[in-house]
């Protein structure tokens, strides 16, 4: 095992290259620029291609085209570039072509603040394509090491599910420096539980069957299979159609190939939840403060637990069925993850602790926890939040 001191940006690049990524197209943007820089250095060494695209619209479309030709491809950006991915994301999703997308979230809305962490694209990552009728896979690393591991997993899932997979990181994960272990031998790879999936070629000429099956290879052009692939609603041959019955089949496949195999996707970490009266919920960097708050709270005698979401979408409702209060901690002021937790947690009381651009402290989270447990109004400095529900 190689042990180095690196950023999340570099970790993502190493994960991508290990997983077989051989094309990166991107447009530099803080705080994801170093992913492009690292790929420009690393890819030529692996006979891969680094392209600086004219914009993010082109960046993801170049990746889509490369993947359509059989190359594993990745792009990376932050909010202002992420919104420009929408067009190409929808194409890859509806054409069912694998690709990996990294979004290092910064402070929004829009250009906002470049060099500070935010979590404003929780819902956008779920709904980046217009038109609905789909499910999508989003993974959220909380450390440099995990950025590496989840990038490998993103490529694996993209291939098996023939779909774009999004890595929703934040500025602290990608810009942050931490110890990074990189495998050097087959034993290392086994020890790290890394799994890979080579690109397969759809035999054609028919398109994907109307089933929820995964491991059906994506269309790859250039093998003279008569493959046809587009973002139109497809016939069974992949031709464009306006037939609503065929659209039902298409939408069903897009949704259920993911929902019916979610055991391959679902991932979370839970701390001290079994007897918890209150469970703190977070993903990405804030989850590290939550973890400390749970340890510290337990030392103080609080029945506090924590949940860290590692896969965000499809949303893991099953994690929120315990009878407890939930406090959702996010790097935004508007509350995004909390809406989904409240939907999933149903009758339980769900609260929100939000801030953007900087992390909460353990002390702040424990103060709020105390207030909730004592049934008091949650307060902190000038900002007040009440129970999240619109009572």
């Amino acid at each position: 095992m190689k042990r180095i001191f690196e950023t999340g940006n570099a970790a993502i690049c190493e994960g991508a290259i290990l997983a077989g990524c051989r094309l990166f197209a991107g447009y530099p943007i803080t705080p994801a620029t170093e992913i492009a820089e690292n790929m420009s250095r690393r890819l030529p060494e692996e006979d891969g291609f680094y392209l600086q695209a004219e914009d993010e619209i082109a960046a993801l479309h170049i990746c889509n085209g490369a993947s359509l030709g059989g190359l594993k491809a990745m792009t990376a950006t932050s909010g202002p570039g992420y919104i420009l991915f929408a067009d190409a994301f929808g194409w890859a999703l509806s054409s069912e072509i694998p690709v990996v997308i990294v979004n290092s979230q910064r402070v929004g809305p829009v250009s906002g603040i470049t060099g500070a962490p935010g979590q404003g694209e929780f819902y956008l990552s779920r709904y980046l394509a217009h038109g609905g009728n789909y499910e999508t896979i989003v993974l959220a690393p909380a450390s440099v090491q995990e950025a590496f591991l989840l990038t490998v997993r993103a490529f694996y899932l993209a291939e098996r599910f023939r779909t774009p997979v999004t890595i929703l990181a934040d500025q602290m994960v990608t810009d942050g420096w931490e110890t990074l272990l990189l495998p050097e031998t087959a034993e290392d790879i086994e020890e790290m539980d890394l799994i890979f999936y080579d690109r397969q070629v759809h035999p054609g000429p028919d398109f994907y069957p109307p089933t929820d099956d995964i491991d059906i290879p994506p269309v790859v052009l250039g093998h003279n299979t008569g493959g046809a692939c587009s973002d139109w609603t497809p016939t069974l041959k992949g031709h464009d159609t306006e037939d609503i019955e065929l659209h039902h089949q298409h939408a069903w496949r897009l949704i259920h190939k993911i929902l019916n195999h979610r055991e391959l996707i679902d991932d979370a970490e839970e701390w001290e939840v079994d007897d918890a009266e209150i469970i703190l919920v977070a993903y990405g960097t804030p989850s590290r403060v939550v973890k400390s708050a749970v340890s510290e709270g337990r030392l103080q005698g609080l029945r506090i637990g924590g949940i860290r979401l590692i896969s965000l979408w499809p949303f893991q409702d099953k994690l929120f069925q315990r009878k407890a209060s939930y406090l959702v901690v996010e790097l935004n002021w508007d509350g995004q993850l909390v809406r989904e937790v409240e939907r999933a947690a149903r009758a339980n009381s769900v609260h929100f602790w939000g801030r953007c651009g900087e992390l909460p402290t353990v002390k702040e989270l424990l103060l709020t926890t105390q207030q909730i447990l004592e049934g008091k109004t949650i307060s902190r400095e000038a900002w007040k939040t009440v129970r999240w529900s619109h009572v």
């Binding site: 085209g65 490369a66 190359l71 067009d87 052009l221 587009s230 973002d231």
Partner: protein
């Protein structure tokens, strides 16, 4: 069905979607003729399309490998695809005037700049016709359309004063031609030359939309009358630029560059 249709097109899509009297199908078939004349087979070509009349007419008609991209972005997709495909595979993109010259211009120009090995065939029907007939950047000046009820007044790029193909040339395209669909063999010959260009080629084939442009602008749905007007529509046609071989093709240059980097690394 013609011999070319049987040879190259999927039977269930061969009839196409274009209206009676439209030049789209004849223009599409000129591409097939050029392929045939070049001795290329189904296995030699990957065929991509955009959206609109041209995309809907041509997507998945090709019996070989085929794809449709999002509106205006197939040039970026083709850039990635080019790197993934072996150099001997040809990429043909059939797109509309809106796709190439307005919504996709940024990507078209960068594809030309890189001299990506693709043949872009712009099927120019003088406006946005699949949405019912609105003006585009190639609509003749002063035209009454559904979105210019008092006649177009903005400067166009239609070769009447300003010509978008000058921009494409300056961007770095290595072969550019423009023809009308009425020119018989000339467009076929130009497309055949384009297919021999390892780098970026663009061939524009112009024809008038009878159903919308004819009715709204010319006041007639009569095919002969529309084409009578079209015969005297001033356009500079022919091979407008040929610098084939003057610059390396993108994917070849890219592989060379990667090899150089690896060799240098070994030297160190």
């Amino acid at each position: 069905m013609s011999e070319l249709t049987t040879k190259y097109l999927r039977a269930e899509k061969a009839r196409g979607t274009s209206c009676r009297g439209c030049g789209l199908r004849p223009a599409h078939h000129k591409v097939l003729e050029a392929i045939d004349r070049s001795g290329l087979t189904l296995a030699d070509i990957v065929w991509g399309t955009g959206i609109g009349c041209s995309g809907r007419q041509t997507y998945a008609t090709w019996k070989g490998d085929t794809f449709a991209g999002t509106h205006g972005r197939v040039y970026a997709m083709a850039t990635g695809l080019r790197l993934a495909l072996p150099p001997e595979k040809k990429i043909i993109l059939t797109v509309g005037d809106g796709d190439a010259y307005t919504i996709g211009l940024q990507h078209l120009l960068n594809c030309a700049r890189r001299n990506v090995g693709v043949t872009v065939v712009v099927l120019d029907n003088l406006g946005y016709q699949s949405t019912g007939g609105q003006y585009s950047i190639t609509t003749p000046e002063g035209s009454v359309t559904d979105s210019s009820p008092r006649g177009t007044w903005e400067q166009n790029w239609a070769g009447q004063g300003l010509d978008v193909l000058n921009i494409v040339k300056e961007a770095g395209a290595t072969f550019i031609a423009r023809h009308t669909v009425l020119e018989g063999d000339a467009p076929v010959s130009s497309i055949a030359q384009a297919l021999q260009n390892p780098g970026f080629s663009l061939v524009q084939i112009v024809y008038p939309c009878v159903s919308h442009f004819g009715v709204q602008t010319l006041g007639t749905r009569s095919v002969p009358e529309v084409y009578k007007w079209f015969e005297s529509y001033p356009l500079s046609t022919g091979i407008l630029w040929n610098s084939i071989g003057s610059r390396p093709e993108f994917s070849e240059a890219f592989r060379q560059q990667n090899n150089n980097i690896k060799n240098r690394k070994q030297d160190v």
